[in-house]
């Protein structure tokens, strides 16, 4: 029993935890020492029992391992082609049935849209119309160059007034037939938008004014050539230019100083003037139409 090893060394030998030289020594000694061999056998039995009891626990993967497994699975999944996924999806009979339904629905909607277009044309054909076709006219805004004194603010009781110059210069007045002209249509369509973009939120109800004006302008532009004589037309364009100029100036003032109530008042009045001016053309159109009936 001389040079026999203790239980701890034998257990370490069994667990493979000994250094290589000590491992050799223990192996040679156990081969020749019966007592140590018995000890080794007992330790082996105990280890086998303990391992069998903890087998389930040892077989369970540690979280890190599980994580790696999941990552690897995801990578594998991504490597799969899209078509494989799509095919897998479509192989489902429910999906097939849904696709068939969609086909029927699509056909139905296409048929409906075709049906909706048809009556409009037929109405246009049925209505008797022997009159001359009215050619709506689009008129771009007339710009006005007006020179006015700016620093003529005087005390109320000083009776010295400097009359402002009233030189109107109509820069350009082009008349483009709207008839099937996409350019003109677009310009007309964008007029309200352009106005809206210029809207500042400083004046309550300004949007309402702008919408009304846009609607009226659309009507007036399509009718004014028919309704207004050249002299009236000139006066109308001049007045419109004056009002537009007033609106532009007042908008600038309100934008500069949103608390300027005077500018707001004048701006409101200018909008109303423009509405009245445009309304006069539409009302005249209505009057002439009613007289022809």
């Amino acid at each position: 029993m001389k040079n026999c090893f203790d239980e701890g060394t034998i257990q370490a030998f069994l667990d493979g935890e000994l250094a290589s030289d000590l491992l050799e020594n223990v192996a040679r000694h156990v081969a020749v020492c019966d007592g140590c061999a018995v000890l080794m056998a007992e330790a082996e039995e105990e280890s086998a029992f303990a391992f069998s009891a903890l087998e389930q626990e040892f077989n369970t993967l540690v979280p890190t391992q599980r994580l790696w497994t999941k990552i690897n699975y995801s990578i594998d999944k991504e490597r799969k082609s899209v078509w494989q996924t799509v095919f897998a999806f479509f192989s489902n009979p429910t999906v097939g049935a849904f696709a068939s339904l969609l086909v029927v629905f699509g056909l139905f909607v296409a048929f409906l849209s075709w049906q909706n277009n048809a009556p409009v044309n037929s109405v246009a054909e049925i209505v008797p119309n022997n009159e001359k076709i009215v050619s709506p006219i689009f008129t771009p805004a007339v710009t006005i160059d007006q020179t006015l004194p700016s620093d003529n603010l005087e005390d109320p009781q000083v009776a010295v007034a400097k009359q402002s110059k009233k030189d109107f210069q109509i820069v350009k007045t082009d008349f483009v037939k709207k008839e099937n002209s996409p350019k003109a249509n677009n310009q007309l369509k964008y007029q309200p938008d352009a106005l809206n973009s210029a809207t500042n939120n400083n004046l309550i109800g300004e949007e309402s004014y702008i919408k009304t004006i846009a609607t009226l302008e659309k009507t007036v532009n399509s009718r004014k050539d028919e309704v207004l004589k050249p002299s009236s037309r000139f006066a109308f364009e001049k007045d419109l230019a004056v009002v537009n100029d007033a609106i532009k100036r007042m908008k600038g003032e309100v934008k500069k100083n949103p608390k300027n109530e005077a500018a707001k008042n004048v701006l409101r009045a200018s909008y109303q003037n423009k509405i009245d001016l445009l309304s006069s053309v539409t009302e005249k159109t209505e009057l002439m139409a009613s007289l022809k009936q």
Partner: protein, 334 residues
């Protein structure tokens, strides 16, 4: 695998079809044809006789008369008889149709450009036309006129409503209110009373010696390209506007009155008595404010080029609101 392919093709086809259908629905529908006025060419029934056309009808004293004039000078005169007499020279025939009766007397009559009792034309022109068109109507009558092109003189009737596409309108001695609108021409009102609404697009508006017939009668005058001249206007609520013309007011501001004068590019000139009493609130831009009268409590805000001035004269019995963008405001002594 073959089954999968068929299913895939089917669903792609369905999706394409659905997208196409959605696009076709989303597109703006084609514009519907604009309804056009029925420009029926009605037949003017010319008076074939060498004598001018003339007709008369007995009516109620407060009869409502409607007529339209396509062309010609129109003169309407109020008289003491309960009768309408219509006269047209150098133009259409004349006739009446009774639209409503009260007991035996017509209370609503339409004056026509043909005689419905003798003319059987189905498409006869209803509007009167001629060199001269004259109507004598009961003094208390209400006259409604629509005209294409006519110079009108209306005198001594109860109430007038005129809409004229082109031509001057002269109204005198109207008792219970005026609504006059001409799109090319002047509107002149004299010695009349009641609520008044005068409108012109390219013409002047002149009103003098007019009054309210009832409390609360409003006087409104608006022209786009002309001047507004008012003298001795007795309504307590006055709204006057001109786009590119001046406004001249000559008269007194009544106690409790509300006066609003606005122009875009014209002057506002007020000629008033020295003992006037009002509170003034003026907004003006590129013009000036000049007063020959001594104003008190002047408050002037000039945050920008648009100025606001408020002031008082006397005890401030009337309220004035003056607005101009690039015109002058002047207050002168009467």
């Amino acid at each position: 695998m073959r089954k999968i392919h068929i299913n895939s093709i089917l669903i792609i086809f369905a999706l394409l079809l659905s997208i196409g259908a959605s696009f076709s629905l989303a597109q703006t529908p084609p514009p519907k044809p604009t309804p056009k006025p029925h420009n029926k060419v009605r037949k003017i029934i010319q008076n074939s006789s060498e004598m001018p056309a003339e007709k008369s009808i007995a009516v109620d004293a407060g009869v409502n008369i409607s007529l339209c004039v396509s062309d010609g000078k129109l003169k309407i005169n109020g008289w003491e008889r309960n009768e309408i007499r219509a006269f047209v020279s150098g133009g259409s025939q004349v006739g009446f149709t009774v639209l409503q009766k009260k007991k035996t007397n017509p209370v609503w009559v339409k004056v026509l450009g043909y005689d419905p009792s003798t003319n059987k034309e189905t498409d006869a022109e209803e509007c009167l036309a001629g060199d001269e068109i004259e109507l004598d109507v009961p003094r208390n009558a209400i006259v409604n006129i629509k005209s294409n092109s006519s110079e009108m003189v209306i005198d001594s009737v109860g109430k007038v409503s005129v809409e004229n596409a082109g031509g001057d309108v002269f109204l005198n001695n109207i008792g219970r209110g005026i609504e006059a609108r001409t799109y090319e021409g002047d509107v002149t009102v004299e010695n009349s009373s009641g609520a008044m609404s005068l409108f012109s697009t390219t013409g002047n508006i002149i009103a003098f010696d007019v009054n309210a017939s009832e409390i609360g009668d409003i006087f409104k005058a608006k022209t786009s390209n002309g001047a507004v001249t008012l003298k001795n206007v007795g309504q307590r609520q006055i709204e006057v506007g001109s786009n590119s013309g001046s406004i001249n007011f000559n008269g007194e501001f009544l106690t409790g009155g509300q006066y609003s004068f606005g122009t875009s590019n014209g002057s506002i000139i007020l000629t008033i008595p020295q003992n006037s009493s009002f509170i003034i609130n003026a907004s003006y831009g590129y013009g000036v404010f000049v007063s020959e009268m001594p104003l008190q409590n002047i408050e002037k805000n000039t945050p920008s080029k648009i100025q606001n001035l408020s002031a008082q004269m006397g005890s401030g019995d009337a309220s004035l609101k003056l607005t101009t963008v690039s015109g002058a405001i002047r207050i002168r002594k009467q």
